[in-house]
Every structure is written in C-alpha cells, then in structure tokens.
C-alpha cells in the first residue's frame, strides 16, 4: 500500500502536539491581555460629547470645586451631573454669545436636555457608592485621575475588579486626609505612616468586610 502521508508530516504532527500547550497558553495570554486592555476597559478613551466641556479649564483654570457641579457626591451613591441651570449660572453672564455654548443655551431655553456620553461606567451588577468613599478619605483623583488636566474627560483607571481590590485590600496605601479629598494635586508626603493612621482614625473597615462579595455585588 502506498504511503498516504509524506515523511514531513511526522515533524509537523510532533510540532503541533507539543506546540498545542504553548498555543493554548498563548491564546489565553492574548485573551487576558485584551480584557485588561483599554480596548475592553475603555481606559483612556475620549468620548464625543455634545459640548466639548473641558474640566481642565473649569477646574484648573477657574478653580471651581468638584462639588459645585457634582453636588450629591457627599450624600449619594451617584455624584450627580449638573443640571443645565448650573451651567447657566455662569454662562448667562459670561461667554453669552459663544458658538460653542449654543447647545447649552438651546437646551436651557427649550427644556430639552443635552445627552452626554457616559465616561465612567460600571456594570449593573456592581454597586458603587461615591459618598462613602469620599467620607472615608478617598480622593477624587485616586480613581478619576487628574481631571483638572483633562481637556476632554476620559477614564483614567481601568475600573476592573482587580483594580478596585488593590484599594479594598490595602486602603492605607490610598487614603488621604478628608480635607484633601477634592484637592486634585494632592501628593502624599509620608503615606506609609499617614495611611494606617488615617485608616484607624476614619474607622475604615478591614479587608474582611471590604472584600466580601456583597460589599459591591447584590
């Protein structure tokens, strides 16, 4: 009977068999990379917005506090986005004819709200509460990055569960004095000493509580 397969098939099959382990490993590594990459997490993606609102200008340039617009950040799970009336507090006085602000004025006049694209979005099975983080001394910039340096807002952190847990496991590495929470440029002086002290002072619960599933998932 004639040979069906050429001799080189032997080599090919050996490579395939032994290579399979590496191929599977490689595929898993690629998938692992993709799910952590900005492609999946949206980290660093600038979204198109109806008005190119610049946090850099309003926060760093004008020195407006976060809470002027995000009013419920200290009381509610949701930090809040400013109603059009908040924009018009100033913009009925300044830049009243700027073309860029036409959609804001139109919206305020017509009562038809602007539709923003959400930048920070958590899945529906995660329940994040802004107020408790703020009251326990977690700065805005810890999660949102230097918003005061963002001309167009983007998501600074990956917002993966792994990322959340770095802090929920070791809050002392991230906690800051309460009066520095809204300070975008805060740089800790001696976090190794200050962190544990603040954790005690603010009665931040231990990792046992903070890493219980039902702390965030329910």
């Amino acid at each position: 009977m004639a040979q069906i397969f050429h001799r080189s098939t032997n080599t090919l099959s050996r490579v395939t068999i032994f290579g399979a382990v590496f191929i599977v490993g490689f595929v898993l590594w690629v998938i692992g990379g993709i799910v952590r990459s900005p492609y999946a997490t949206d980290q660093g993606i600038r979204r198109e917005q109806p008005v190119p609102f610049s946090h850099q200008h309003h926060v760093a340039g004008l020195g407006i506090d976060c809470r002027y617009c995000h009013t419920s950040v200290e009381t509610s799970s949701f930090a809040g986005i400013p109603p059009m009336a908040t924009c018009m507090n100033c913009h009925s006085q300044i830049w009243t004819n700027a073309d860029m602000l036409e959609p804001v004025r139109a919206s305020y006049a017509s009562g038809k709200p602007l539709i923003w694209s959400r930048v920070h979005r958590l899945p529906d099975f995660v329940h994040f509460n802004h107020s408790i983080h703020v009251s326990k001394g977690i700065g805005c910039a810890t999660c949102h990055g230097r918003v005061d340096e963002m001309a167009l807002t983007f998501q600074a952190a990956p917002l993966t569960m792994q990322w959340c847990l770095t802090c929920h496991r070791n809050p002392e590495q991230f906690v800051r004095p309460r009066d520095q929470v809204f300070n975008m440029g805060y740089v800790p002086v001696n976090q190794a000493e200050l962190g544990p002290k603040l954790v005690r002072e603010y009665k931040i619960l231990g990792p046992g509580v903070l890493t219980s599933c039902s702390t965030c998932h329910y």
């Binding site: 492609y39 999946a40 509610s76 109603p83 059009m84 709200p113 509580v209 329910y218």
Partner: protein
C-alpha cells in the same frame, strides 16, 4: 400499580403518625411509592429540561451559533447616555430614593402607603406607619400594585366604538345626553364602585344638583352588602363597625377571615398578633380565637379551635351561641357540637367587654345582626367593638342598586350610563344579564384601567389613572381620611374619576389636584359643599398660608389627623331575626368567594399575584374547586383514583353543575374543608384581561360569575359535581416544591414545634424537648470557625403570629426584582420567589391544625452551599451572610443541591423581561436583574443593609437597631419577622434569640442557621377536648 387506599385508611394513617405529627399534604400522608420517588428526586425541576432529546444536527447548530456569538462579546460596548435635568427639583438627590405618603383604595377603603420613588419613578410600596389601617404593613395587593401601575396592557387611549379617539371628542359627545338629562335627569345614570372619597362625593352631589333626578348606582362584586345590611338590622341605620382586637381576650369568627380580607384587615392582624405574641417572663396571658368557617382561611389557621361547617350552617352556630347567652331561641335542630358551643359561651361570658364576635362578608345579614346582638349582650359594643357613621359617602345596598339599574336599562329609561371604574359586564350577577341590558343604553361610557369586557361593549372608553398617578382622597376602615397623591404623571394618558365627573358637571377642565385641594380648602374654611349652580371659581376661598401648612402636613403624614369617624353610642338590637330554612344536609352546597390573589378579577393581569401561591392551597395561576377528602370520596374521586395524580402536580377536571349552568373546573382536595360543600373563588376566567389574564384570547382559570346569582351571591345549595374522565390536568401547586424532606434528614426533626400556652407555661423549653428530635449541640466542623467582629445579621420568625398572608412573598418579589415564570414553569417547580411559605398540618384530615412557616434563606454559619461552589460565587461574608454573586455564577447548581432548606432558586430560562420598556422603570435600581443560568437567593436584603451601613458610617455613628429593615419584615402585618444585628445584645433580634422557644430548622445538621423560629404557641380552651 398504586396502592389503593380510601378515606378511612387516610384517617388511620394520621393516627399512626408516631413521631411525625406534622404533615404537609394529602400526598405525603398517603405515603405512596410515587410520592416517595418524587420527594427523593433531588431536583425534579431539572428532569424536564428538554422535551425531546438533542440530536447531532441540533447540537452542531447550537454550537455553531455559540461560537459565532462568542466572537461578538469582544466588541467594544457603545457609550451609555447620561442625561441631566434642566432644573433639578429641590429635595431630589440622584441615587437616593424619596418616599411619598399616599393611600391605595380597594373596595373604596384606603390603606396608607409610603411609595418609594427613584428619580421620579415609583418602585416599591411600603405601608404608612401613621395610617390606622396599615400601621406600616402591606398586603399582597398593595405590594403588587406597583406592577399594576406599569402594566403595559393598561388601556392607553380614549376609544370610541373601539377606534382611537380623544378626550375632547368624548367631551363633545357628552353634550347631547347631558342636554337630554336637563329635561329629564332620570335618563342619566352614574355607576361607580364603593365611594368613600369626600371630594368625589361632593362632585356627585354637585352633579345631582345640576340634574336633580339623576341616579347614582354603586356596585362592587366583592360585596359588603351583607355587612351593611346586617349592621342596619342591628343598629337601625347604616353604620360602620370597627373592631379593636387589641382589647379582645376572646374572638369568635363566624366565617370571617378578618386577618386577611376586608377593610382594616392589616390593622386587625396586627392588633390580634399583639395579643398573641409570647415573650418569656412578660406575657401573662394570650387571646383565644374560635373560628367557625366554611373554607380554610388565614384566620382559621390561626385559630385555637376551628370548626369547619358549611357556609349555610354557620347561622345555626351563631344562633346557638346567641341562645347560650340568652339571646334568641336555640336553633332547631340543635347543632351537633353542643359542648363545644357551651365552652365557647362560657369563655365569652368570662370576658365580658373583652370579646369580639365577627361575621364574614359571605354570611347573610342575619348572621351579622346576630353577631352584633351577641356583642351587645356581652357588653363588647363600645369596648372591643365600636360603631361609627358609615365610611361610604352614601351607603346603599349595592345589589339592589345594580338591580334597579338593570331594570331601568331594560325598560329603556336609561339614556346615558357613565361607569367610573369596575367591570360589571364581567362581574355582575349572572341572572341580571347585565351585558344585554347594558347594550340597550344609547350612550355608554366606561372609565377603566384596562380595555376590558365592559369597555368593549361601551361606546366610549376612557383610560383610567392608577392611584399612583392622580389626586384623590379616601377613607380608611375607621373613617380616617388620606389624600391620595400621585407619584408620577399618568403613564398612559389616563383620566381620573374626578376629571370625568368634572366633564359631566361641565365648565372648564379642572385638574384632579384642583378638585381635591379646593374641596379641602372649602372644608377648612367651613364652606359647605356646593349644592347648586355651576362650578364658579368664586366659591372656593383663596388659599390662606395656614391652609398651605395644613395641606402640606396632610400630604406629608398621609393622613388627616383626627379625621377618624368618632364612635357613636349605639346599642345593637338583641331581637335577632327569625331563622329561615336551612339548606338540606344532603344537597351539595356551592360556596363562592373572592379569590385570595386576583380578588374580583381586577388583578388578573398582575403576574406577581397570579403566581403567588394561594395562602391555603398553594395553587398558582388558576382557581380550583375546593372539597374535603370525604366529599371527594363521595363523588368518586377517592384516593385510588387520586394516586396517579400524586404529588399535587395534577388533578382531574370535573363538571360543576349548578342551577342549569355547568363549569368545567379542576377539583382540589383540601384537608380541613367542611364536608358536603365545595368552594370556588371568582375573579378568574377573564376574556379581555390583558396578556397575563387572557393570553392569546384564551383565559386563565375559570369564570365563576356565570354561577353567581343575585339571590345566592355567596353560593347556595343544589350543586352537583360530575367526574368527566378527561385526562389529568396539570396544576402549578407549590406546596411540595422545594420542600424540606424529613426522610432525607433522618425522620421528623421538628420543623414545626407547637405547644399550648398552658404547656408552655409549665415548660417554656418545649421546643428543645421536641419528640424525636435529638438536637446536636456540638459545633464540630472541618472548617475553621468564622469570626464576626462587626455585625452579625440574623432573623427570628415568630411562627405563632404568622398568618401565611403572603405579604412578605410579594414584598420580596418587588424589592428584589424577582421574575415570574408562568404556570408551565411553576408546574416544573421553577418558581422564583425567594421566600416561600410552607404549610403544615397536624391532626385529622377532617380538621387539622394548620401552621404556616415562612422560609427565606437561613444564612447558615456553616453553610452547605458555600464549599461546593466551584467558582466561589457563593461565599461567606464577614457579617455572616451567604453572599450570592450573580456575575460569578456559572450555574452548576451544586449549591442548591447541597442546600437542606431548598431556598435557592435557579433561573432556568430568560424569566426576567428585558424587553418591555414599560417594566424597566419599575425595577429596584439597587438590585441586579438576574439573567438565565444564574442561581439566586435571599441575602437578607443586603442592598438595604449596605445603604443603612453607609449612611451610619458617613455620619460617623454606630448603626441603630431597627435601621435595617428587610422587605419581608417591613411588609409583615403581624411583625412576625424580626431582623437585626445579633452582635448587639440590646437589639430586638438578640433578645428574641434568647427566648426559650427559639429553635432552628434542622439544627441537627449543624448548619447553624442565622434565621431561627419561635415555636408556635396556641391557646386552646382546656374545657374542649380533642
């Protein structure tokens, strides 16, 4: 071949239940091989996953589709939209709910409600603690009303002859019948449901002033005519009776389900339970309840002595009690339970002024009169029973009112009929032939929530507003007035009855808000209701700053303080009406009553209520003909015939013949049902109820109204049940679903532990010395113990006061976004309610004691579910909860396999409705909506725990006891469920855990459940044996 056993065998078996006193169902009692096989299947719901096998082609197709779809998941998700307010409302903080006080009217009676609103969307109903009829509790109807609000099947548009029309066209069309009515007002008729709303009353009064001979008819199919007429017999005029169960040591129920039905039942249940709760070292005595009833009820299940008798025989027992107290002659022939009655009478006499005799709605007026005569003779009136003016604006005999209307329609006297709410074409007595008479009226307009049976026969249909959508006012069972304030603008272009009446009165379109507010402004200013003339604005005084403050307080409190009707000094006549003829004992009696979950049919399109197991039978999605085991035997449906239908999974269809009508209904055998009669609930069989009530033009359940006649509204004698020989009929009965199998855990382990109050006083530890239950006290475990340095959440359920009313089940469903599954899936044991109420019987099948036991997740400290999860989706929290992480669950179902309490629910199919836009705003935003393939379960409302903890921590203070309230606890009318932090020794739950009657289910498994129970304590009369 199934074992052949008959009724006598049954009775013997109850006798031999040594060490296993409690039984759940007749199937369990029969101990057939089928039943054992059924129970021993760990997960019968899994066995029916595929109706046919999977062949190679299907397999390849499915795999191909899965691979193709798997690729899609990697695509970048689109940006979510986020929309700001233009001007943010004051007091509204996004992410924090607001609560508004309002009231839900049912049968014209309001129950106080606090409605939770998330950014303008009502999502949950709670009771209003300041409202006298609620005291913070809710029943299933109130909880489910939130689904009723969003129901996409609600009528959304004005219709004229079925075609889409407009409100202004309707107003235009009204003018000619109104014109005709100016010359002869009698041609104009108004048909409403029971009206207690002072504003609506004033509007009707004004309309009458305009059209003096206009007639107003009222009709409610769940009739309170018997109560009204009975009290009129006793007191000489229409009055309202208010019962004070907190003042009653002895209660006698004459076929009254006072804890679950009728005005004020939530309050009555609370007051009754407050006198029944036993606390060690505190409680010196508890109340006693005698129930003489015609079908198993919630109140009957609570009773210390229960006597099942045919509905028509209750009167004889009432007369016997009265005669024992020297009121009226003894019935002839005498009732068989002479000694029982004598003991009851002595008990009543020992508690003069501290007793209540209450008669049920289905009992004839005479029984109500007798009950009041007994109360009078005992001095209870003015003490535990008070009498006030009627709560209705105009109390009438509604049956006669409707009869008059039908006569006038037939004679052609009615030229225009405006129906405000209700569905008389569906629910009027059969002999009125309402639909025929109705169609003789030249102008017919119907205001209703749905385009229903009556709407389709009307010229004009106006969509009605839900109570959460419009302004109104309503009286409670004691007359207290609540302003009904809306939570949301009408979703479906609805109009309120106030607007329709406004249109009839004429003048400019007045909003319901202005109607209600100006009515109360006039009341506050002492201006009498407008009697004549049009709606001139000048008559309404201008709002004073004082009124504004008062008005806001009323809205804030949900009640108008001090508006309860004052008790009248009135004496009931002790000259009781003469006895009529009793139904012959040989003829089968048909007993009709409203359905415990869909009521008169108005809730038929509410899937939560459809799927709610009926409190006593645990049947879902339909009505069944209830008979006693003995009656079933007599009609030829004995145990041998029943065996093939074992496991309460199917039954037979029978023909019920009654007065020339025949209904094909499923037969259902109920222990404790009186013999010689059959009970059937009306409210099912809607032909135009919506997608849930009438799917694809079919009907769910059987329409019973065709056998409801005006001379026998509660049923009558002469019924006949004929076996049909049809194939087995499947039934979605949940009683044997997810039940704890005593055999699996080594025989009877005392799931229910009960004692009499006397036994308890002798031996407060009775639960620990439970027969046959050797309790393991060691805590050995292969796993290291957990420590709970912070909170340790725990629950105690006081079984003594659980009425099995189902309020908690629906509250849980609403709070936790639990999906409904439909009858077919219930039949496959896949119902999703996280909290179930198990029913247990003890004693003979003719009249067993009934126990209800709510079973949520036990939150075991040594939880069998946790170690078996391969993906760590169910893990122990630092506070002792068995967390369930939906996003991690891969659906192996090992956890529910290993759960001895069977409290985990698996989402087999896409039960959650992700598509219907109307249902999206209804969901609780604090709880994930679970999808297919995910296990779910109770986590003690962890979203509420977290919210309260965050609030406390933000305010830098410890969490107070009572700050976290679970949904089931909040709904419970009797405060049977107590939740809190076990680590706080002062907390209520920690105190209850120290009660000697505290015990855990299946404690011998060493699961150390956090949910424990207090043993049932009842208070039988020592003079009555057996």
């Amino acid at each position: 071949m199934p074992k052949q056993i008959d009724f006598t065998e049954f009775r013997k078996r109850v006798g031999d239940l040594r060490g296993r006193e409690y039984w759940r169902s007749l199937e369990e009692l029969s101990r057939s091989e089928e039943f054992d096989d059924f129970v021993n299947q760990e997960f019968p719901q899994h066995a029916v996953a595929l109706d046919h096998g999977v062949d190679r082609r299907d397999f390849v197709k499915l795999m191909g589709a899965s691979v193709a779809l798997a690729g899609l998941t990697a695509c970048n998700r689109p940006a979510e939209k986020i929309i700001p307010y233009i001007r943010q409302p004051e007091d509204l903080i996004p992410g924090r709910p607001l609560f508004f006080a309002t009231a839900m009217p049912l049968q014209g009676i309001g129950s106080g409600v606090l409605a939770e609103s998330h950014m303008g969307r009502p999502t949950k109903i709670e009771g209003n603690p300041d409202h006298p009829s609620s005291l913070g509790a809710t029943d299933a109807f109130m909880q489910a009303s939130i689904l009723g609000l969003y129901d996409p099947d609600r009528s959304q548009v004005v219709r004229h002859l079925g075609e889409i029309s407009t409100w202004s066209e309707f107003i235009g069309a009204l003018q000619s019948p109104l014109q005709a009515a100016t010359t002869n007002g009698g041609t104009l008729r108004l048909l409403t449901q029971t009206v207690t709303s002072p504003t609506l009353g004033a509007q009707i009064e004004q309309l009458r002033a305009q059209y003096p001979s206009m007639q107003w008819h009222q009709w409610e199919p769940v009739s309170r005519d018997n109560v009204r007429e009975g009290l009129r017999l006793a007191f000489g005029s229409y009055v309202n009776a208010v019962y004070h169960f907190d003042k009653a040591n002895v209660v006698v129920s004459l076929d009254s389900d006072f804890t679950e039905r009728g005005p004020g039942h939530l309050r009555y249940a609370r007051d009754f339970a407050d006198r029944r709760r036993v606390r060690h070292g505190v409680t010196a005595s508890i109340n006693r309840l005698y129930a003489i009833e015609s079908a198993p009820s919630g109140s009957g299940a609570l009773a210390d002595h229960r006597l099942p008798v045919r509905r028509s025989d209750v009167e004889a027992y009432a007369r016997a009690i009265a005669a024992g107290l020297g009121v009226g002659p003894a019935p002839s022939p005498a009732v068989p339970e002479g000694q029982w009655i004598a003991a009851l009478v002595r008990d009543l006499q020992k508690n003069r002024g501290a007793g209540i005799v209450i008669a049920g709605e289905e009992q004839p007026a005479a029984v109500h009169a007798i009950a009041m005569a007994i109360n009078q003779a005992l001095g209870n009136i003015g003490a535990a029973v008070t009498v006030t003016d009627p709560v209705e604006v105009t109390p009438v005999n509604q049956l006669e009112s409707l009869r008059q209307l039908v006569q006038d329609m037939n004679s052609g006297a009615v030229k225009a009929l405006v129906i405000l709410g209700g569905n008389p074409v569906f629910d009027a007595p059969a002999d009125f032939h309402f639909a025929n008479a109705f169609q003789k009226v030249p102008f017919r307009a119907h205001l209703s929530l749905y385009y229903d049976e009556t709407s389709i026969l009307s010229h004009w249909h106006i969509p009605e507003t839900h109570y959460l959508e419009s302004w109104s006012d309503v009286r409670a069972h004691d007359g207290t007035i609540s302003i009904v304030q809306p939570l949301i603008a009408p979703l479906y272009n609805g109009r309120s009855p106030h607007e329709v009446l406004g249109a009839l009165i004429g003048g400019l379109d007045v909003s319901p808000y202005d109607q209600v507010r100006s009515h109360w402004m006039r009341v506050a200013a002492g201006v009498p209701a407008r009697r004549s003339g049009g709606a001139s604005a000048g008559e309404t005084p201008a709002a004073t700053p004082d009124f504004e403050i008062t008005w806001r307080k009323w809205l804030n409190d949900g009640v108008i303080a001090g508006s309860a009707l004052p008790p009248r000094t009135a004496a009931a006549s002790t000259a009781i009406p003469a006895a009529g003829n009793r139904h012959p004992a040989t003829a089968l009696e048909l007993q009709l009553a409203s359905d415990p979950t869909v009521f008169d049919g108005r809730f038929a399109n509410n899937a939560w209520l459809q799927e709610l197991p009926k409190p006593q039978t645990k049947v879902t999605w339909e009505n069944v003909l209830l008979v006693s085991p003995k009656t079933a035997d007599e009609i030829g449906y004995n145990e041998a015939r029943r065996a093939p239908y074992a496991n309460e999974r199917s039954t037979i269809l029978v023909d019920l013949r009654y007065r020339g009508q025949s209904l094909r209904v499923p037969l259902w055998v109920v222990p404790g049902h009186p013999d010689g009669c059959a009970t059937l609930h009306f409210g099912y069989g809607r032909s135009r109820g919506g997608h849930v009530a009438s799917p694809k033009e079919e009907t769910v359940g059987v329409n019973v109204y065709p056998v409801r006649f005006s001379d026998a509204m509660s049923g009558g004698s002469g019924a006949q049940i004929v076996l049909t020989g049809e194939p087995a009929y499947p039934i979605g009965c949940t009683q044997e679903h997810q039940s704890i199998n005593p055999a699996d855990v080594g025989g009877d382990r005392g799931l229910v532990r009960a004692a009499s109050f006397a036994e308890y006083q002798r031996n407060p530890d009775f639960v620990n010395e439970y027969a046959g239950g050797e309790e393991r006290t060691d805590t050995a475990s292969f796993y290291p113990p957990y420590s709970y340095p912070g909170h340790a959440w725990a629950m105690v359920i006081d079984s003594s006061v659980c009425t099995g009313c189902n309020g908690c089940v629906i509250a849980c469903q609403s709070e936790n976004n639990i999906a409904t599954v439909g009858k077919d899936q219930v039949w496959r044991e896949r119902e999703m309610q996280w909290l179930r109420i198990d029913r247990y019987y003890r004693g003979p099948v003719e009249n067993p004691e009934v126990y209800h036991q709510p079973v949520p997740c036990m939150q075991c400290e040594q939880a069998p579910c946790e170690p078996v999860c391969p993906v760590g989706a169910t893990v122990h929290s630092s506070e002792g909860l068995n967390d369930m992480t939906y996003n991690r669950c891969v659906g192996t179902r090992y956890c529910s396999n290993n759960c001895p309490y069977k409290v985990r629910r698996f989402n087999f199919l896409f039960y959650s409705d992700y598509e219907t836009p109307a249902l999206k705003p209804m969901r609780n935003p604090d709880v994930t909506v679970r999808t297919r393939g995910v296990m779910e379960k109770c986590t003690y409302c962890v979203q509420r725990i977290n919210a309260a903890k965050i609030d406390a921590e933000r305010e830098n203070r410890p969490l107070r006891d009572g700050e976290v309230v679970t949904a089931c606890q909040q709904a419970c009318p009797t405060n049977a469920i107590v939740f809190g932090d076990m680590n706080d020794p002062k907390s209520q739950v920690a105190q209850l855990k120290k009660e000697p009657t505290n015990y855990a289910l299946l404690a011998s498994l060493n699961t150390r459940p956090r949910t424990t129970y207090l043993g049932v304590i009842r208070n039988p009369n020592p003079e009555i044996k057996g």
